[in-house]
Structures are given as C-alpha cells and as structure tokens.
C-alpha cells in the first residue's frame, strides 16, 4: 500500500485492528460525500450525501482508482449533525442553524457583488452561451434569478467534472509511480528523482478538461529546476557489498557505478579491485 493506509479511504471506523490497512477492511465505515461517479470524468452528479458505506472497498488498490467514487477517496462527511449531537452550546434549530433563535439567518451581512471574473465565455458552448446574468444571453430577455442560479450551478458541476477527472488521473499516475518505486532499490528503475516529463504533474488542460474551465486556468510554472540524478550501474559479480569500504574505496565504487562508459567503468572497477585487494585475495 503506497499511500498512508486509509488516508484515502474515508473515515476509518473505530475498532479496526491496528496494523491492518483500513482500505480493505469491510468493517470500516466510510462516509460518503458527493455521489459523483468519475470513472470517465463525465458523469459527476452534483450533490452531497452523508452516511456510512458498508462493505469492502478497493480504495488504494493500485491503479484501481479510475472508476472509484471520489467521495470515498475524499472521505468527508457532514460535520454539523455531529455538532448537534453534542448537545452543547451551539445546538441549533433544525430549520435555521441559529444558535439562539429559530429565525432564518442568511449567510453574511450583505449582498456580495458578483465578481464575474470567472469568464463565462470560456465555458463549453451550448451550456451557458453568453449567459452572464442573462443579460446578453441569446437575446431572449432577462433570466430569472432561479434560472441564473441553475446556470451557475451547472458551471459549478462542470468544474467538478473537470477537477475530478484531473485529480483522478493524477492520482492514478502517482500511485503507479509509487508502486514502481516500491519495487526498485538503489540504482534501480526508480532512479531518476525528477526532470523527466512523465514525472511532472498534469495540468487541468492536460487532463482533457472541457474548454471552459481548463483553458482559463493557467498553471504555475515549476519551481526549482530538477536535474536528473546520475544513472547507476550494478557492480560486477566479483565485487562484494562494500560494507567495510573506506572513503577512497567508496569514492571509487561511487564513480564506477555512475560511469556510463563501460570501458571507463571497468577501469574504475579494476582500480577498486587493486585498492581493496580483491584481486590479490583471489
């Protein structure tokens, strides 16, 4: 299990045996979040539901995420009911959430001005063609507030789809890399800490997101440039482990294992043999 056991699994039910991964424990209760299905990045269903999901989960299985429900990955749940259960201060009228009265309180103290910098014109055509508050939309006149809210909700939903597809593909790739790293030792296939294009995270654009959001989202450039580490070559069969090497022998070994030229590499190993007396022993 490459990731933190259970970290991507949702809430782990108390009582699950320590030392075992919660990810495959059927008794582990997971609270679902949104019920979007994101295997293809297209079928996200907006909305949130809380509750436990019983049964086996294959979360965290290698490469098995693409069809997983992201809410299981996220493992979040509604928080406020838990607060109500406490019975402490903060108990709330079911209709309002106000601590002291049953009167409905709107969020905030004022009407925030719509900022509108999210460039509706970048949305996929046909969804919201020119729909900013309905003023320029298709020349059909003003939309009602409910219609405008529906349009904005649709935009949000599309954004979720894009985001989910992007994150899931990134996760799959990261988990594959983690598995590959787990099967390689020093100088093995895992060598190469960075620098190769495959190591770089996808951007939302790369994820094939709908044009609306993805194209309007710049990605920040990479931080420090990463240089690929030197490739390592395994030592010849007659070379021992090097546990008792002194500084000079270690330097020779290091130089030999990282030397790409086979002739020079063999010369370095000869030098190593001479220095450590391997040839004499034999």
């Amino acid at each position: 299990m490459p990731a933190i056991p259970g970290a991507a699994q949702g809430r782990q039910q108390q009582g699950s045996s320590p030392g075992s991964s919660a990810s495959t424990n059927g008794s582990g209760s997971q609270s679902g979040g949104s019920n979007s299905t994101l295997g293809d990045g297209q079928n996200s269903v907006q909305g949130s539901q809380s509750g436990s999901q019983q049964g086996n989960s294959n979360q965290g299985n290698n490469g098995g995420n693409s069809g997983d429900n992201p809410s299981q990955n996220a493992g979040t749940q509604s928080r406020f009911p838990g607060y109500q259960q406490s019975g402490a201060n903060g108990s709330r009228d079911g209709s309002s959430g106000d601590l002291d009265s049953g009167a409905l309180r709107p969020f905030g103290n004022g009407l925030p001005a719509p900022s509108g910098d999210y460039s509706l014109d970048t949305l996929p055509s046909g969804i919201l063609s020119g729909a900013r508050s309905g003023k320029t939309s298709q020349g059909t006149g003003a939309m009602t507030a409910a219609e405008r809210a529906a349009v904005l909700d649709e935009r949000l939903r599309k954004g979720y789809e894009t985001f989910d597809g992007f994150i899931l593909s990134e996760r799959e790739r990261a988990q594959n890399e983690s598995n590959a790293a787990g099967s390689a030792g020093i100088g093995g296939a895992s060598g190469g800490g960075g620098g190769s294009p495959a190591d770089q995270p996808q951007t939302l654009e790369d994820a094939g997101a709908p044009a609306g959001v993805a194209q309007s989202m710049p990605t920040i450039s990479s931080g420090a440039p990463s240089s690929p580490p030197p490739e390592n070559f395994p030592p010849p069969e007659d070379i021992p482990g090097g546990r008792d090497d002194d500084v000079v022998a270690r330097q020779l070994r290091e130089a030999a294992t990282s030397e790409p030229d086979p002739v020079l590499r063999e010369a370095l190993w000869d030098e190593y043999r001479n220095y450590t007396g391997i040839g004499e022993d034999q």
Binding site: G33, G193, S216, G223
Partner: protein
C-alpha cells in the same frame, strides 16, 4: 624524612594511577531495545467523534544543530528527513485506528481538526530526537513534547527493517500520547466543536463574507462558535462538495509523498546504518582522546612535581620522571585518537554527501510536483469562489422575487 619520601613517591604513583583510571574509563549510552506498540482506543468511538489529523512537513531543525554536530550533519539530509519523518508519523497515526483521516498536509490552507507540527532536533542513525507540537482547529494548543530514542544495532537487522522503521518507537509514542491526551482532555462536546470550526474555517476560505459571522476569536486568538449555518443551506452543501475535492487533492499529494518515501527508504536506511557505526566510533574515539588528554596532563603535572622536588630522593625523582613520561605518552596518544576521529568525521561527511546526491533531486521533484498541483488547484478554487459569490447573490435575488 623517610615519610616525606614515601609521600612524594606516593604522589607520583597516584598521578599514574589516576591517569590510568581516566584513560581506561568509558562512557556508556543507554540504548533502547524494547518496542513500544501502538495503543488503540479500547472504546468504540462514533464516527462523528473521530477527529481528522493533519501532519505538517517538519522543520528540519537546521538552526537547532549543536556546534559539535555541525560538521557531521548534512543539511540536505535533514530537509529530506523533514518530509520523511512526518509521513511515518501520519502513517502510524492512521494505523492506530484512533483517528479519522490522517494526512500529510501539502500546505496550511486546508483546515484540519488536529494539527501536528514537528522539528527534527537530532538524527544520525544512532539517535533521533523530534519535538512535536499539537493543536486543534480552534487554535487551542494541546501539548509540546520532545521524543528521543537511541537505538541498538538490532534495529538495523534485516528482519526488523522489514517490519518497521528503526525509529518506529518514536512514532508509536507520538501516536500513543496523542490518544492519551484526547482521552483525558477533550470531551465529546469539544470534539464536535473542533470539527464544526474546521468546517467553517474551510467555508471561510471560499467566502469569508458569508461565513465570517459564525466564528469569533477570543483574546488568545482561539476560535469560538457564535452561530451555525442552517444544515440544509445550499451554499454550505456546495462548500462541502468542494471540501471533498480538497481532500482528493490532499490524497493525491499523499501519493507523491508515498513515492518519495519509497524512493528514499533504501538509500536512507543504508546511510543511517553506516552512520550508526561511524557515529559510535567517532564518539568513542573522541571520548578516548579527551580522557587521554586529561589523564596525560594530570600524570605530567604530578610527575614533574615529584621529579623536581628538592626534598626528593632518587626513587621519588625517578618515579616522577616515569609518571611524566607516561603522561606525555598519553597526551601523544590523545592526539593520535584525535586524528583518528577526524578520519571518522570525514567518513561521516562523505556518507552524507553520497546520500545527499541521491535524495536531493527527489526532494526537489517532490516540492516541484506539489507546488505545481497546488497552483492548479488553487486556480480552480479561485473560480469556484467567484461562482459561489454569484450563486449567493442569485439566491438572495430569488428570495426577493418570492
């Protein structure tokens, strides 16, 4: 007169005995071979009373390095460890089953119920010391504690390594202390409060205007709940949907860290094992050199005193000369030991440099990927913030239309 001779001869002999005693003394370090298992809560805690834990990247503790350790402490390795150790901490906490979701946090933007910060005070393969600070979403400080462990060679045995990190006991102790604190100091009502506050703090991240009124800060800066939004509020539902995506993002970063830890484990363990032996050798040789200097100096001073005594006879003066000679030899051997210590120090530096070459690119790659992903996600969040603000405006409009 005869008594005085014996006295002076005794001084010379005493100086030699003291010198021999000091040079033979050795310091001993207490090492732990006992394994502290992870403790699980004996009670079944309801799911809504499980706290989520966010473990942050540790401070590498560069500023805390002691003077005598500066030459043998590689800063790049410390930086690499500051990502390695918190991952193991989070992994151990998750494995304990006492908490909700435990994550290694890529940044401080995402509020979590319990926050674990740490600083690495020492790490050389033989001993490790980490100071841990724990607080919760309300801002309340839980505790600060230093965890130190000196391990034996047994911890690097292959069979042991396959099961646990050599310093796993430190992480187990952190997990056990966190559980003990929660059990003894945090009530169910407080747990609910903490969880509610962390959710509102996340909502504030997306709309400070809409969710600002629900929390206030007391004089100490701790958050308190003033009121609660309606549980059926559509905007709150949307924020929860977004939070699920935020968890997905953090989970993705966990996979980055998992890759990093896997890549680092083999060379890091190899370095720690070699560093373990070199560190012990270096310490013993340094101690030996110090003892030889002290004993040699004492023998020389005592011997010279006896040898130059005006009242001394031949025996006393001869004894003093022998003691002084022995002291001089001890001092010389002290210098030899110092030279030997320098060799071991150079070996340690060389080992550190070798590991640095191996892991520094991986650290850069980890940071690079995390920053890039965070940037992309934050960009998306910015758009969602604006949509949420407009949605709120439209929903207020709907209320007015009604």
């Amino acid at each position: 007169m005869r008594t005085q001779y014996f006295k002076q001869f005794g001084i010379a002999m005493l100086a030699m005995i003291v010198a021999t005693f000091f040079s033979a003394c050795a310091t001993h370090t207490v090492k732990s071979t006992s394994y502290v298992p992870i403790v699980s809560d004996s009670q079944d805690v309801p799911e809504d009373l499980l706290l989520d834990v966010g473990v942050f990247t540790f401070d590498p503790g560069i500023d805390e390095i002691k003077r005598n350790e500066e030459e043998t402490t590689n800063h790049e390795i410390r930086i690499a460890e500051s990502r390695y150790a918190p991952y193991l901490t989070a992994e151990t906490l998750q494995r304990s089953g006492n908490w909700g979701i435990v994550r290694l946090m890529p940044n401080t933007f995402s509020p979590m119920d319990v926050l674990v910060n740490g600083i690495i005070l020492q790490s050389n393969g033989e001993s490790m010391s980490i100071r841990v600070d724990v607080s919760d979403a309300t801002g309340r400080a839980w505790y600060t504690k230093v965890y130190s462990e000196v391990i034996s060679q047994f911890s690097y045995d292959v069979t042991q390594r396959q099961q646990n990190d050599p310093f796993q006991v430190i992480y187990n102790n952190i997990a056990n202390d966190l559980l003990a604190y929660r059990q003894q100091n945090i009530t169910d009502a407080q747990i609910s409060e903490i969880r509610t506050i962390s959710e509102i703090l996340f909502a504030q991240r997306f709309s400070i205007e809409l969710f600002d009124e629900y929390l206030t800060q007391d004089r100490r800066g701790n958050y308190q709940i003033v009121s609660l939004p309606a549980d059926t509020d559509p905007l709150l539902d949307r924020v929860r949907d977004i939070r699920e995506r935020d968890f997905m993002f953090i989970d993705t970063v966990q996979d980055y860290y998992a890759t990093y830890v896997r890549q680092m484990r083999v060379p890091y363990d190899s370095w720690r094992e070699q560093s373990y032996f070199e560190t012990i050798e270096l310490r013993e040789i340094r101690d030996s050199a110090r003892r030889r200097f002290i004993a040699g100096t004492a023998a020389v001073v005592g011997g010279l005193a006896a040898a130059t005594s005006s009242n001394g006879n031949y025996v006393t003066q001869a004894g003093g000369a022998i003691a002084a000679g022995a002291g001089a030899y001890l001092i010389k051997s002290g210098f030899d030991k110092q030279a030997e210590a320098k060799l071991h120090q150079a070996t340690l530096e060389e080992l550190g440099q070798s590991l640095e070459n191996e892991i520094a690119p991986r650290v850069i790659n980890l940071e690079d990927r995390t920053i890039t992903l965070t940037g992309s996600v934050e960009e998306q969040y910015g758009q969602w913030r604006e949509i949420l603000a407009d949605l709120y405006a439209e929903e207020i409009g709907m209320v007015r239309e009604l």
